[in-house]
């Protein structure tokens, strides 16, 4: 049973690490601001859920699990709000969403 839980948590942690890494590479390589936001959101949702779930399984049913659940809740509630505010502010500043081109190089304020 212990081994099964360990394997499950390792799988979750590794998958979380892969998602985080993919999101990081995407945030560096994507062509413009909105596509980079899309890549960064992968690390905020899937990466966070998988990594926290992985360490939660390691913790078992203790106070630590409650704290981890609180951290996950805060991350999931608070990450969409800055994303929305960022998109809104960029849109108001006149950066047009144009996937498929590096257009915001010329539009930079």
């Amino acid at each position: 049973m212990k081994i099964a839980l360990d394997i499950l948590s390792w799988v979750l942690l590794t998958a979380g690490g892969v998602f985080v890494l993919v999101g990081g590479i995407g945030a560096l390589r994507m062509p413009n601001l909105y596509t980079r936001m899309h890549a960064a959101s992968v690390t905020d949702t899937m990466g966070a859920i998988l990594v926290i779930a992985g360490v939660m399984i390691q913790a078992g049913f203790t106070l630590v699990t409650i704290k981890l659940a609180a951290i996950l809740l805060f991350l999931l509630i608070t990450s969409p709000a800055p994303s929305y505010a960022l998109g809104n502010a960029a849109m108001l500043a006149g950066i047009k969403p144009d996937a498929g081109s590096a257009a915001d190089l010329e539009q930079a304020p």
Binding site: W10, L13, T14, G16, G17, V18, V20, L21, G23, G24, I25, A27, L28, L33, R36, M37, A40, T43, D44, G47, A48, V51, I52, G54, V55, Q58, A59, V64, K67, L68, A70, I71, F74, L75, T78, S79, A81, P82, S83, A85, L86, N88, A89, A90, L92, A93, G94, I95, D104, L105, Q107, A108, P109
Partner: protein, 96 residues
């Protein structure tokens, strides 16, 4: 096992910093800072288990809240600046 996740998180933080330095618009550093903050919270949670010290989780919790407020404050500043500039441009346009 925790080492692999820690490594992935640290590499991603380095990539986010690179984007913050390269970023062509002012919004790229803000995006990087949000990403960096989330990664810091995750890194603190993993390090708590890597070193076997659950106190780090309290730090992670506090950091999650501080990060949220900080990013919203910066974005509100940029947003009001964009609106003000737009208004000034329109006023200038109508005056001519």
């Amino acid at each position: 096992m925790y080492y692999a996740v820690t490594l992935a998180l640290v590499v991603t933080m380095a990539l986010a910093l690179a984007r913050a330095v390269l970023g062509p618009t002012v919004y790229d550093p803000v995006l990087s800072v949000t990403m960096f903050g989330t990664k810091t919270v995750l890194l603190l949670s993993v390090i708590a288990f890597l070193y076997g010290r659950p106190d780090f989780l309290d730090l992670a919790l506090a950091y999650a809240l501080i990060n949220f407020i900080g990013v919203l404050a910066v974005l509100e500043f940029f947003r009001s600046r964009a609106i003000r500039r737009e208004q000034e441009r329109q006023d200038g346009g109508s005056a001519e």
